[in-house]
Amino acid sequence: MGRPAAASWGFASDLDDIAGEVAIVGVGEAEHSKASGRGSHEIAVEAIEAALADAGMEIADIDGIMFSPAMGDQLDEQAFRERFGVQHELWTSHQGGGMVWAGTAPHAAARAIRSGAASTILNVFSVAWATQRSSMTGGPGQFHADEQFKANLEIPFGWFPQPVYFSTIARRHMAEYGTRPEQLGSVAISARRHANGHPGAVMRDKALSLEDYLSRPMLADPLRVEDCCLISDGGAAYIMTSTERARDLAKTPVVVSGVGEGHSGSGAYWSQQGDFTATPQVFSAPRAFAMAGIAPSDVDLLTLYDPFTIVTLMQIEDMGFCDKGEGGAFVQGGRLDFDAGGLPTNTHGGMLSHAYVLGISHVVEVVRQLRGEAANQVADAEIGVYGGYTGHMASTLVLTTES
């Protein structure tokens, strides 16, 4: 049985060319932690204040806000107005927040800025899932349990929640390509090493060796706890404006050079995805790289939405950093470390070891790397890429320093 042709199981969005039009000029994070007792709005406010300070801006400078109402309890326009006492006109978009939208928000922002609808746009995302999980009121599992096809065709058979889906995907990947446990372990260990060097990471004080990893019990065989992302409270925000205006601001502009968005034809039902061991990065990444005029080999560092180690590995393959099936060999032996001469990946620790804020901190990390401000700084970083993922969608965001 051959692999299905890429065109048979998904597609890319047609995004018009916005290369170079906008820049990210401010980034900020809230404190990332285990259950904090805080609500997601309070966390979002802390992230926004940090992003404004970073950009050297006032709240009055913000005339556009992007968030993701689908993710529940996000700081929306009304809450934003109340918290900050904002009365001026605001352009708002629901195509923001984390996950894939952390990668595609700059495209929507570029279009809004081009049209004159806004000049300075904030994208924000926050979660209090560690706090909510400790009180059993929400979190990532709940979101899926409420979905009727999953409730009637998957959950009765114990194929739930996410670690079970992805252990099934990992086993198939291992069978098709010979991917080994220590290769998945290498993804987790690189992420942990980066978190150990990052003062804002939830796992900054907890080391992880390959021996530790291999000795840990299976959570959902073949995945161990260390293959799975954290559940944490936290959030982040970033501010975008035209590249022209960005040159007059406090920090070195980080330019949005390419955006891509890919979709699986089977929607959110992983079980039916045509290519079970791939991600829609197959469709997304080539579009973003073409818009930016780069090849995968030009990329200096990568941040990837990493709910599970296998998702990091599959995205690396699907974005073209190696051939399909070669991801295991590509990541093994610490080749994702920031200083190993391989492909520095999730240099802040990712969702595996930094914080589970669904990718928005991944964009913050790329910006800091390209400014030379990162905790685990990659030498001479000029091109950084974020790969977003939600299962049925993927996004690719290419950020660059100004040449």
């Binding site: 058979f157 194929w159 670690p163």
Partner: protein
């Protein structure tokens, strides 16, 4: 969360035919009466020819083991009584692109290999603190 969780709602229209057939110990999925495609999960129209003539069609119950996960401790409350268990996907004989989520039974994890032949068995699915039960299609290695 719906009462009865994690049992299915056998009366939810889109999957009602599947669960009704299972109560008769039959495996059925929607098949397009025009082009013959098995459509899973059940859509309102055929994914290939877009016609609305989808009928519940009986299947052989033979499949191959596409992948599985051995869960030693349940990761959600409703399934605590079932652990350890093996859940997975089987690819149907009639069309291996169609994968059914199921439980693997009458076997140990070490008995399983990718793409091995498996066959349907119908078993009662019930949970200690949940009222009611259903007969559900599960799979075991094909002897």
């Amino acid at each position: 969360m719906r009462a009865g969780f994690p049992l299915p709602d056998v009366n939810w229209e889109p999957t009602r035919g599947f669960w009704q057939a299972a109560q008769r110990r039959e495996l059925q999925m929607p098949r397009c009466e025009r082009c013959g495609l098995i459509n899973w999960y059940p859509p309102p129209r055929c994914r290939a020819c877009e016609c609305e003539s989808l009928g519940w069609s009986s299947l052989s119950g033979r499949a191959t083991l596409f992948s599985w996960s051995h869960v030693s401790r349940a990761l959600f409350d409703g399934y605590a009584s079932k652990a350890p268990y093996i859940t997975g996907l089987v690819a149907l004989e009639e069309d291996p692109r169609v994968r059914l989520v199921t439980l693997l039974v009458d076997c140990l994890p070490e008995d399983l290999t990718i793409d091995m032949p498996v066959e349907v068995v119908f078993r009662v699915l019930e949970f200690p603190d949940v009222e009611g039960s259903v007969i559900a299609p599960m799979f075991r290695p094909h002897s």
